[in-house]
Symmetry: none
Subunit: 229 residues, 2 copies
């Protein structure tokens, strides 16, 4: 699973920095926006979740929240100082998915982030097709079709192939691949990846010596070079 990107919209540095580091400790990528305008600009980068302070120097959080909702379903967690129930519901009524009352514990916030991501994880049904349908990767059925024939990959092999195929041309180091596949704090022999790559090639390449899809980048790692249809 790819790293989740989270946008923190918060003007108080002290708070945003703490939140950022907690999120990063948990393996998320966190970006800070200090003003409403900045937030609205950056929102175009595709984040997986937004943490939004209700009180901002320029635009207020409610307005931002509504604007975001006009074009996106991205999960939003509100940070608010008020705690009366009406305020909460009101906040949630404008389109936030959850709220946290200040002062809050970073741990709790992280827990809610995780919970919300789990809840809203929409089934990413995706079909990747390369080289005129020669190689087809279907995420829903976890199947890979090579030239029409179904090829059975193991879970790890599937994850690696998916990671590479989702980012054609991009070079991944063995370490990056290990991290994505196994989780973030894995201490391991990164040559494991070689073994998996070999097995994947054996299954999807006509001639593993001259791979059409997964190419070795000497001294660095691997990259996927199929042409998306």
């Amino acid at each position: 699973m790819a790293k989740k990107k989270i946008l923190i919209v918060e003007d108080e540095r002290k708070i945003s920095e703490v939140v950022k580091s907690y999120l990063e400790m948990e393996g998320f990528t966190a970006v800070i926006a200090e003003t409403g305008n900045e937030a609205l600009q950056r929102i175009k980068e595709d984040f997986d979740l937004i943490i939004l302070d209700l009180m901002l120097p320029d635009i207020d959080g409610e307005t931002i929240c509504s604007s975001i909702r006009e074009f996106s379903d991205i999960p939003i967690i509100m940070l608010t100082a008020k705690s009366s129930e009406e305020e909460r519901i009101k906040g949630l009524g404008i389109g936030a998915d959850d709220y946290v009352v200040k002062p809050f514990s970073p741990r709790e916030l992280v827990a809610r982030v995780k919970a919300l991501l789990r809840r809203t994880r929409r089934d990413e049904k995706k079909v990747l097709s390369f080289n005129k349908g020669l190689l087809i990767i279907e995420t829903t059925s976890m199947e890979v079709k090579k030239d029409g024939r179904i090829v059975t990959l193991t879970p790890t092999e599937f994850k690696i192939l998916l990671l590479l195929a989702e980012n054609p041309q991009k070079v991944f180091t063995r370490l990056q691949i290990v991290n994505t596949v196994q989780g973030y704090d894995f201490e391991g022999y990164d040559r494991v990846i070689d073994a998996h790559i070999k097995n994947i090639r054996r299954k999807i390449e006509d001639n593993p010596q001259k791979p059409l899809f997964i190419k070795t980048v000497y001294g660095t790692g691997y990259k996927f070079i199929g042409i998306p249809d």
Copy 2:
């Protein structure tokens, strides 16, 4: 599909109005009852789902829930204020199908409404037939026919089979299956699913070792691989 009618039993206007508008935005018809008595009267109109606050001015939600259950198994979602009540609802068999802790996000509530309707829909009579009639699943009678012979599945087994069979080829994790079968976010031992799958296979597969219908996806979960007629 006809518009689904939902009854909201909630005394706080602010909350019920927000919920109502969210539901209507999603294409539901929503009706508000502000007291328990009002709810019990209106219940006769045939609603497809009830959202029921646990705290009401006259009768408490628990009692209402039980009364409803005496004559109907309409889906009920409970609204509760404290997470301590959460425990009770979970443990005590009040008869609710799901519950949401206040303050909640209207979007989440809507999501749960949809999930619950999906899960309990038994109105649409549907017959699923696979592999030239070798396996037939009838939703109305909750019957499964294997090669002409009627096979008796338990309610849980039936729900699991239906979930899988409605989405051929799609891989479901054990957690997804548990959620669909038991309720929204049920914390449980997901190996339970293994046991159910085993029992279903024993009933519908000629050779459970080489299943024709429910296939194991190693490291992930299960998928149904019958070919629809």
